[in-house]
């Protein structure tokens, strides 16, 4: 049993301290710390990371969404080929999809060439992969629920009865 309220709070802001989370949930710091530790131990909380807007930094990496078609294998289906792919650091996100292709692989690289090389030399030749289609990302507007540019500012009047 996980404390879902604590997980929801941390999902929005992973930097909150147990003390802050305790105040928001009306629990003790000890209870929160225990709940967090349990979630971390059981990998319900996988990691704490910053969401970086690389466009702002001026050091933009290249992203591409690769549609991958594969032939499923006896007993393991798509899992073993998926694993061969997701073990590469270049594959940032990997999903099994319904529809016209099987795996959606989001690949990150320093340049278009680097991404192209990864797809043609590593990904496409994997046994069982029958085809790839690459779509390069032109602009990232929203990532994981967060709008990257142009956050709305509150324009409230200071006192309203």
């Amino acid at each position: 049993m996980f404390n879902k309220e604590i997980l929801r709070i941390l999902e929005k802001d992973g930097k909150l301290t147990p003390k802050q989370v305790a105040a928001m949930t009306g629990s003790t710091v000890d209870e929160v710390s225990k709940a967090i530790k349990q979630a971390e131990d059981e990998r319900a909380i996988v990691k704490y990371k910053a969401l970086i807007n690389w466009g702002k930094v001026g050091n933009e990496h290249v992203w591409a969404l690769i549609e991958v078609k594969i032939t499923p294998q006896r007993d393991v289906g798509f899992d073993s080929i998926a694993e061969r792919i997701y073990r590469f650091d270049e594959a940032r996100t990997v999903y099994l999809m319904s529809g016209t292709y099987d795996l959606a692989v989001l690949v990150e690289g320093k340049s278009m060439q680097e991404v192209a090389e990864f797809v043609t030399r590593k990904l496409a030749p994997i046994e069982g992969v029958t085809g790839t289609t690459s779509h390069f990302v032109l602009k990232r507007y929203k990532e994981d629920g967060e709008i990257l540019d142009g956050k709305e500012e509150s324009k409230r009047q200071a006192v309203i009865l």
Binding site: Q20, M24, R156, L161
Partner: protein, 391 residues
């Protein structure tokens, strides 16, 4: 020939008390770096689906008047909503009126029911417009103080004791601004019994109905025998973060709604069309957003109330709206002095309890619909202020 100079302002307009904290607002406007806990609205912008629906309606050229009552779709959806939430049945054709915010609905309810000299009983401290709306109808507001020790709940016996032959109605607003109090069902039922016994109308402002934490909101009209004598006032501002759209409603007995509609038709015509479209979208698809915002207010509520108590204030647990109403008497200051000094010395704006009636003395209203870092910083500043001035 010499005559007395006539006042250009009517006696009725003169009869409403001006806001006693004008000076305070002016001071605030001239300052920078202020953390304001003085607001009375969500810090969220309206969820996009409502905004987008309104934009689309403008693109479609839906820019004309609607029926005086409001669009049939919105009234039907609202009727369904009230039935689903409270089991109440209102005929969308004759028992629901869409208004320009609850403010208009409140004004209409008073003007449609109150004759000169009629008394309206209201628990206080209360929203500033309550006594004013009664006075503007030439009625007489009768304020019944509620107290911290009783969680700012109405005591039916206090209401009954205040009833005179001129008493026409009870005006109640729970979940309450400024206290954050919520009426438990059984206590509200006792008030309802008094209303039935003395044949009183009830004007129930339930604008904060959706913002309750760990307690269920009881709709006044849903209590036995109350629908026929209650004007239910509600709106979209608080639950759906739609304050600027100005959409509210009144649901009640046909005769009263008809009278309110007459006045509405001559003064307002109809609520803004594009805002009615957004309100319809809110009812149809805004539930997820409401639940998410309520969960978030609840986190800030717990954190902020605990913070106030840690400083040393007595602060009753507000179970509704988005206000905390701490007792500031440990500082030995009046509410107004406290608010003024806190603003000057620490740049935190709160509203003196006295803005909501004399019985608000000794309290200030703090709105916690503010970002978490700002609330934390506000608590740090208030703590410093209190430590300096504590008696």
């Amino acid at each position: 020939m010499k005559t007395e100079k006539r006042s250009p302002v009517s006696q009725r307009a003169n009869s409403i008390a001006p806001s006693g904290i004008r000076k305070f607002f002016d001071l605030l406007a001239s300052m920078e770096g202020v953390i304001s806990l003085g607001v009375g609205e969500p810090d969220y912008a309206t969820p996009w689906r409502m905004r987008e629906a309104a934009i689309y309606s403008l693109e479609q050229g839906k820019t004309m008047y609607t029926s005086n009552l409001g669009t049939p779709e919105l009234r039907q959806e609202l009727s369904r909503h009230l039935e689903q939430r409270y089991g109440l049945k209102y005929d969308p054709a004759t028992e629901i009126l869409i208004t320009v915010g609850v403010s208009e609905a409140l004004d209409l309810a008073m003007r449609a029911t109150i004759d000169p000299g009629d008394q309206v009983i209201m628990p206080a401290p209360c929203y500033v417009a309550y006594p004013a709306s009664v006075s503007l109808s030439a009625g007489q507001p009768v304020m019944i103080p509620t107290v911290e020790a009783a969680n700012f709940e109405i005591d039916a016996a206090d209401i009954e004791a205040a009833i005179t032959p001129r008493t026409k109605a009870i005006l109640s607003g729970y979940p309450a601004n400024p206290t954050g109090a919520v009426m438990p069902k059984e206590k509200l039922a006792a008030v309802a019994a008094v209303a039935r016994r003395h044949d009183l109308l009830v004007m129930s402002d339930e604008i904060y109905a959706r913002l309750v934490y760990g307690i269920e909101h009881t709709c006044f009209a849903a209590l036995p025998g109350m629908q026929e004598r209650t004007v239910l006032l509600g709106g979209f501002s608080k639950a759906y973060a739609m304050t600027g759209w100005r959409i509210g409603y009144a649901a009640g007995p046909r005769e009263i709604i008809a009278a309110m509609t007459k006045i509405h038709q001559y003064t307002i015509m109809c609520a803004p069309t594009m805002a009615q479209v957004a309100a319809l979208e809110a009812l149809r698809g805004g539930e997820e957003s409401v639940l998410e915002m309520v969960a978030d207010y609840n986190r800030r509520r717990k954190m902020f109330v605990k913070g106030l108590r840690d400083i040393g204030f007595s602060c009753f647990e507000p179970k509704g709206a988005f206000y905390a109403f701490p007792n500031i008497t440990i500082t030995g200051m009046s509410s107004e002095i406290f608010a003024e000094k806190l603003l000057q010395e620490e740049k935190v704006a709160v509203v003196p309890g006295t803005a909501f009636g004399a019985c608000g003395e000794g309290f200030v209203r703090c709105c916690y619909a503010t970002s978490l870092p700002e609330l934390e910083e506000a608590l740090v500043r208030i703590r410093r202020f209190v430590n300096k001035h504590r008696k």
